[in-house]
């Protein structure tokens, strides 16, 4: 927790411009030293090597950088790594099932041609995974509103909406 934010105790008044941060990433404890201004997105990509999280805008609009922080889908370009100290982070790489292969959401995207260049895809996969976990039976309008926080330029969203719907259906069937 606070111990990992170096120097706070020695000179609490001044704050820290460099800090050691620890977090769990895709189930593994990781630690690195970063400037306080380094975003969670950059830290995941560069310090921890999870390049599946992409930077499409760096101002919180496109959603390509979406990861799970303590289970919630968030824009990792709008968080500093120091804010995620002690957090449980899951990136797209962490959604692969234990035995390998594709998760239900990933498989649905493949079936429905929900990706072309693939750059927006990790952000969508993480967002849809989190959304369907919390909202297993969305209406079409609710689903589209939920998807509206991620931008895609290649697919025109046809395959993405179909994939999310398909994943919802298949996940619901799995529950039965």
């Amino acid at each position: 927790m606070a111990d990992h934010v170096a120097d706070t105790r020695e000179a609490p008044e001044q704050g820290v411009s460099v800090a050691q941060v620890s977090m769990t990433v895709n189930g593994t404890a990781r630690r690195t030293t970063v400037e306080s201004r380094k975003t969670l997105a950059d830290t995941l990509r560069e310090d921890f090597g999870f390049t599946g999280t992409h930077l499409g805008c760096e101002h919180g609009v496109c959603g390509a950088c979406t990861v799970l922080v303590d289970g919630a889908a968030v824009r990792s370009c709008l968080m500093f790594a120091v804010q995620a100290d002690g957090a449980d982070v899951v990136t797209v790489e962490g959604l692969t099932p234990p035995g390998g292969g594709l998760s239900a959401v990933q498989q649905a995207f493949r079936e429905e041609h929900g990706l072309q260049c693939g750059f927006c895809t990790p952000g969508f996969v993480v967002s849809v995974t989190a959304y369907l976990r919390d909202n297993p039976a969305p209406s079409d309008a609710e689903l589209r509103a939920a998807l509206s926080g991620n931008l895609c330029r290649c697919t025109g969203y046809q395959g993405i909406v179909a994939a999310a719907r398909r994943a919802a259906r298949e996940l619901a069937e799995e529950q039965q």
């Binding site: 706070t8 609490p12 704050g15 959603g63 824009r75 589209r144």
Partner: protein, 300 residues
Amino acid sequence: MKPAPFSYHRPETLAEAVGTLGAFGDEARVLAGGQSLVPVMALRLGRFGHIVDLGQVGALRYVRDDGGSIAVGAMTTHAAAGRDPLAAGSVPLLARAIPFIGHFQIRNRGTVGGSCAHADPAAEIPAVAVTLDAEMEAAGPERTRRIPAAEFFASTYTTTLEPDEVLTSLRFPVWQGRTGFAIREFARRSGDFALAGALCAVTLDADCRIERAAIGLLGLGAVPVRAFQAEQAITGTAPGDLDMTEIGLLAVADTDPPDDVHATSAYRRRVGAAMAAQALAAAVAEAQAGTGITQEAAHG
């Protein structure tokens, strides 16, 4: 688009936070959810030598009954406030406004306090606060004070908070009686800031006349405003006697919204009037029915 360097502070108590702000004055900025502040920093439109992250100040995350009001801690995320049953039951207008805020990923981090402190003219939480005559509580080094919402928002992105004050909570009065609430806003895309929007709370008396009404407008000026003229015009009337379109026009009559790349001033007033009419009609209908109504988005 990387932010400029800053010293990072992560207080664990409110007192620490206030102390840090006091030490660094204008150089310091509070970081709440970061959904508005971090883009500003990334674009280097604002730079701050010291960032005070309230993320560990757990004492600022709550929704509780405050006797006649619902108090929402400033660091409560939009998502948490939107899920809270107490808030939904006692301050329906808040619960209905929250789904309009950005996207669910933004709501997972963005906070009700952060939204107010950022003071975007088209933001929903400030508009709910102004509509319901909420009170903002701010903690400074010497004292804690309460600021009526109408006095909190000074101008675009500007509040009356002192540089060494932390917004700690929002207290929303609970409306009693035969009440109805509605928000109607128009945005170009799902999740965008609205071009114009209206929020309405009404109470009907025993004769089904409007006993009390509040009409708030967002996106039509530098700050969210109340349409007092329209409120006065409808108080005491039977809703059936009202021409909602006319009331909507009256509601926006004193506004002077901006022209920008997205819409003209005339456009905003036209749509604002329509939103006010729709919000009023929906709130009245709910009050008449005595039960909750399904909120529809004004667009999409």
